[in-house]
Symmetry: C2
Subunit: 159 residues, 2 copies
Amino acid sequence: MLKIRPATIDDAPLLRQLIWELADYEKEPDEVRITAGDLARDGFGPDPQFRALIAEWDGQPAGYAVFLRFYSTWSGRRMYLEDVFVRPQFRGRGIGRTIMARVASIALEENCTAMGWEVLHWNQRAIDVYRSVGAEFLESWRLMILRGDSLRKLAERDQ
Amino acid sequence: MLKIRPATIDDAPLLRQLIWELADYEKEPDEVRITAGDLARDGFGPDPQFRALIAEWDGQPAGYAVFLRFYSTWSGRRMYLEDVFVRPQFRGRGIGRTIMARVASIALEENCTAMGWEVLHWNQRAIDVYRSVGAEFLESWRLMILRGDSLRKLAERDQ
C-alpha cells in the first residue's frame, strides 16, 4: 500500500540517498554536493528553504518529492517542483503521479496558479508522465546560471 | 547618477508598470495578469514571496529587478532572478550589470552558491550581457509548467 507523508528532520539521510539516486539516474551523480546535514538545516530548521514528501510502499521508501514556493511577475504565486523520483523497483504503480497530485493539491491550497519544474531533454519517460497529466513545455525559455568565481566577481562590482 | 534601492509597497504601481514594459519587450504583454495590488500583498505583506530593487537615474525610474530564494537539492541555496530590466532610454550605461551585481552580492551574503534565471532564446542582447558576466546555459534542461484545469485535475487525484 502507498502512503505519502511529509519528510521530517530524521529523513535527512534518506533524502540525501534518494537525491543521489535521482542524480545517478540523471547521469550526474558527481553534481550532488549537498550533505544530510545541509538538508537537515535547510529543510527542517528555523528558516526552511524547501519542503519534502516521502512515498512509502508497504513501509519501504519508494520515492520522494522536494518542492518550494516560487513567484512569477506575470501570474503570481507558483509552486516549484525541484525533484520528483520513484525508485526503479517501485515504478509502474502510479506513485510518481500520486506524489505530483499531492504537490498540486498543496499548490492550490496555497493559492498558486501553476506548478513548474525542469526536465532533462532526453528523459522521455519522465516527459511522457508529465505530458499525461497535462504539463506543457515553456519552449521559448532557456535556463542560465552564474556560480563560483563568476558570481563572486559580479558581486564585487556592487558598492 | 545611478542609485539602486529596495522597492517598498509604494512602488507596487511602478513595479507593475515596469513588469509590463519588460513583458512588452519580450513580446508577451498579454501574459501580465498580475495587478499592483497583488504585488503589494505578495511582495510587501506579512509573508513576502519576492524582493525587488528599483534603479533610479537622476531620480527617474530606469529599471528594476525581482528576485527570490531558491533551492537546489544538488548544491543547496540559490538566488533566483525572476526579472531584470532597464528601460530602453537608459541602456548602455551599465545599469543592468549594476543591478545584477547587487543581487549577486545579496546572494553571497545569504550563503547562496549560485544565481539562476531564465532567458528567451532569441533575446541575444540579454544573452550577451549575461555571458559577459560569466553566466552559462544549462543546456540539457527544459522548463515545464502545469496550470489551469490540468493543475486542478491533477490535484483532484490527491486523497
